[in-house]
Subunit: 626 residues, 2 copies
């Protein structure tokens, strides 16, 4: 069969073996792209095919996968997203994180859909990709540098200030399990410890330069969507542009759903101090963007905290960072939070995991589980901004208590002992992001079943829609909004549909914040690729990825017992707007059983042979098939 | 909430109680239409909601439902289809049959989406619907008339030769379980004995006249599809127009898949005599059509058989009729077959069921199970055209052996005894249509699991696509054609997808012969209704209907054991192109188990609570909810 003309993907995956130094290309073919799309799905596929049960996440057998999707790099708002994945050193299972920015689009413009890194280098290296070529270069001079300095050094060395750099910082070099990967210093593959995997491979950075537009099957259609968004920009995006992702702080706080003091509370008395409006009015110096996007939800902040000047080069804090380093640590000082966010960016630390690890330590400290003897003299109580800032540095440098917390909260509690485990807020070893399941009950399912552990990409999605509910979710057959405090059949159904829908974004390389309807996304996928795809086909592709991630987690030893929440979520809030409210274990149990059934999982949480066959995954039943 | 403007449906269902004479309207609302669409799905919903386990199919508790879909009546080729359903007196379970023609479109143009008939009249009546009004009228003067005379009498009486008449014939009056309902004399709701239900209610006809076009949300979009089909008419439809549905006879015969002599053979030595090409060259006098259709696949035949003149008013035989009354009875005489087809139309008999009942009797006769003493002196051997014709009359009039066969083959075999059951070719009590599962293995699944028993609307659909396979089935994620003799995972998956897709047509009111791709159908549904639906949503609606039909069958006493095939399909052909070929019981068993899993059915064939919840059918778990 003659090969089809390619649009939206290149049929070129770069495979780099850092042990041998070998670089080669793979061309999996159109059927592969249509079945797996890219991004998170391509990662799950690679893990399932290639990473055996005994592979050490920080060893050479692990794969580190940078994957764009078929939409990544198209000239339309939202097309800047891409994924990084590996077996996670934080959870031991499926590791995956998404980021926006320009790096993914640049990779596509350089002629590649993904980069799969295997093996490990003896010495620090970085990878340089330019218009279809790739080479491994020494990074010994970069090792130990903050991310901004390293990026500058790479650009200078390559003589190209337009090169896009995805890199780890000193935290990743030290294999801190909360380490992220940054791109352009302001976009972060934050979760599941991907920075530690990159550090273990001694790969400091991947610098990319591409100059060729991604070919489109129907550029007019793509432009039409871009024009639609531009024409509706004021109505759809103005609020988000105005206050960014932190614009929801006050609403969440008023609802009782703002994670506060390690989730002990859902209401923070200083919420206004860390709200998006305050950021806008006090420290915002610019608004940043991602590839081809007109929304400009990203923050760029300036100013000072004490004697320390904030560097706008690191952008500014997202909602997740504001809540994790702010309310969750009891810190109501925006400049301190912004500085902590900057330090995480410079060190290459996940702000959610880092903030939550510090919040955990603070709760340990307030309960006498940790003392000044453990904290190097720090008064590690909730609300102590300086202590929070000091702990960020300690974790990034693996110093003192920070060396313990660098293993992640769950492991740290085991190392600390003394009953510290009761303050651990993780699922499958990953720290809970800044969304409260006692407020949005559907999140309880999402946190429990997400293959990456607690993950804000598994939101229940049903209250955050900017456009009318019917317009947004109608094509999924969900026509009416539903209350947040509901775990009935219809909510489980809605969660199943919407989480599949959300997962699809991460496989297409599309930003979930775009106000596109499912039908618009399908049309976009068609206009980019020329495939006569449908929402049916794309949703099946999405579920294919979810099932592959599940299968990989089962291989890694996870089972139904691990689809559980920290006990705290079953304990009622003592105060705030949701005083007295808790998740009910039997309700969540029932919802999970329904969800298992909807996913075609048996009681043990294993996908049935029939469901795998239905999705064309019968090959995946037998285990590794590499 | 303000009611949405309505396009494609009227939100008006006519409910007629023939016991009380009461006529009223129901307005179930937009969410209902969007969840259930109409046609076959509306029927399954009504049966599940209203017909209890102990309802006699021929008693007043049964419902007889005439249901159009949201596409029925739109000005585009293929929009002439609609459904009739009831608890079947042939199978005892879900009864349902589709037809084209003009009647369904006329019902929509008269302002109604469906008619639900309950109770039973003491005396023969007919229903007259005209532009939003309905009345019950006496049909005593019509009782006993052939269908053409009755239609003429109704039109004369109403003074309107444009009135469209759906009616039973004398066979339906006599509650022959093989009785059909005809519309315009040439379109037949053939299967599952719907004519007997109508006869038991003493409802001879429903005459409809409507003058208002169905309102469309986006007429330009609908017209664009019509223009697309017109522009591609020669390429897509010419062959079908040329030889009609019987155009496949020679291909099937050459493949060994032409049902012959009660499925004893798959190859008929006189196939050329009953082929579409022969019909075209020898007896075709015109080509008929359905509402808004340009394809003209319908046949109108003339000529003579012996001393009998064929009446073009009854149209001409479809492929199913040609094979059932022809090759399956060993009859290679086209004029005789055409005459038998005409007599079925005049009497109101299903040609498939009738032909198969006669073929069964012929095999009994050839094996000494029936003798001339049973057949009123007829030499009922295969190939005796006059005996076949005589038996059509006998069944329609319930005379002699015909009175026994009028109960359907399965019941007739019980009445005959003497080992006759080994010649019964039915599933769930309904006669096998004219497609051979030893040729197309996927049909084996379809026949076994169809809620109406063996049903040619549950084809495997994978070899009959006129357009390229990828273009046609790509949106379902089925990208490559597959061999017909395959029951592997991928075939079961394809069957699951395609049967759900085919079922959708019957709920939309769209003809399966149209060469539209799934995405074109979704666009059509959107342009007609204004809903932002997707293929995902429509496929879920389709599966909703299949699950409701399954639940109704379970209520009626069917279980997994009834999802089985006649033993003959496991016996190899003795001769012909497929000599030595048979279905393998273990392969089909495995395929059915996989299909159960894909449908979310447990081993006993019951839909799981999770699957019902996923489809928004949690209400249906508890049984009748009327």
């Amino acid at each position: 069969m003659a090969e089809a003309e390619r649009f939206g993907y290149h049929n070129r995956i770069l495979r780099v073996n850092l042990t041998s130094g070998e670089i080669r290309e793979e061309h999996p073919g159109e059927e592969f792209y249509r079945a797996y799309l890219g991004g998170r799905n391509l990662i799950a596929h690679t893990l399932l095919r290639e990473v055996p049960a005994d592979a050490d996440p920080l060893g050479p057998d692990n794969r580190l996968i940078f994957a764009a999707g078929i939409i990544t790099g198209a000239p339309v708002a939202g097309a800047g997203r891409n994924s990084v994945g590996a077996r996670s050193p934080l959870t031991g299972g499926c590791g995956d994180a998404e980021a926006g920015g320009f790096w993914g689009a640049e990779l596509k413009r350089a002629g590649f859909d993904a980069v799969i890194v295997e093996g490990a280098s003896d010495k620090p290296v970085y990878l340089y990709i330019r218009d279809g070529q790739a080479e491994i270069r020494s990074a010994e001079h970069l090792w130990g540098l903050p991310t901004a300095e390293a990026q500058e050094a790479i650009r200078r060395e390559l003589g190209d200030h337009g090169v896009r750099v995805a890199q780890i910082g000193p935290a990743g070099e030290r294999q801190v399990r909360l380490a992220c990967i940054a791109n352009d210093l302001t976009h972060f593959y934050g979760r599941t410890g991907m920075g530690a995997v990159m550090g273990a491979k001694r790969l400091r950075a991947i610098a990319v330069r591409g100059t060729k537009p991604v070919p489109l099957a129907n550029p007019d259609g793509v432009q039409a969507l871009a024009r639609w968004l531009a024409a509706n920009d004021e109505k759809l995006n103005a609020g988000f542009r105005d206050t960014g992702t932190a614009g929801g702080v006050q609403y969440l706080n008023a609802s009782g759903g703002l994670p506060t003091r390690n989730f002990r509370q859902g209401h923070f008395e200083h919420a206004i101090r860390i709200a998006g409006e305050t950021m806008r009015d006090e420290i915002l110096v610019n608004r940043g963007s991602c590839w081809a996007c007109i929304v400009r939800c990203k923050r760029v902040v300036g100013g000072v905290h004490g004697s320390r000047v904030l560097h706008p080069v690191y952008g500014g804090p997202e909602y997740e960072s504001v809540a994790a380093l702010g309310s969750c640590c009891g810190v109501g000082d925006l400049a301190a939070v912004a500085l902590a966010n900057e330090r995480c960016a410079a060190l290459g630390l996940d702000t959610i995991g880092t903030g939550m690890a510090i919040a955990f330590a603070m709760e340990c400290y307030e309960n006498g589980v940790l003392t000044r003897a453990d904290t190097d003299g720090l008064d590690l109580r909730f609300g102590n901004a300086e202590a929070m800032l000091a702990m960020v540095e300690a974790i990034g440098e693996r110093r003192g208590l920070g060396h313990i917390l660098a293993e992640g909260t769950a492991q740290a509690a085991k190392l600390i002992g003394r009953g510290a485990e009761r303050f651990v807020m993780t699922v499958k070893g990953q720290e809970i992001p800044m969304h409260e399941p006692r407020f949005k009950h559907g999140l309880g399912i999402g946190y429990a079943v997400s293959p990456t552990g607690a993950d804000h990409m598994h939101d229940d999605g049903l209250v955050k829609a900017g456009r009318s509910f019917r317009e947004r979710f109608g094509p999924l057959g969900i026509l009416s909004p539903m209350p947040v405090n509901d775990l009935s059949e219809r909510k489980v159904r809605a969660f199943y549909y919407v989480s599949t829908w959300n997962h699809l974004y991460n496989s297409l390389g599309l930003c979930q914040f775009m106000p596109y309807s499912p039908n618009q996304v399908v049309d976009l996928a068609r206009d980019i690729t020329g495939w006569n795809v449908s929402l049916w086909e794309l949703m099946k592709a999405s579920e294919r990825g979810q099932q592959m991630a599940r299968l990989f987690n089962l291989r890694c030893g996870f089972g139904a017992d691990d689809d559980c929440l920290p006990r705290r979520f079953y304990e009622a809030f003592a105060d705030g707007p949701l005083a007295g409210v808790a998740l009910k274990p039997d309700e969540l149990e029932r919802a999970l059983a329904l969800y298992y059934g909807m996913m075609g999982w048996d009681d043990a949480g294993h996908p049935t042979a029939a469901r795998l066959a239905e999705l064309g995954l019968d090959w995946a039943q037998g285990g590794v098939d590499g």
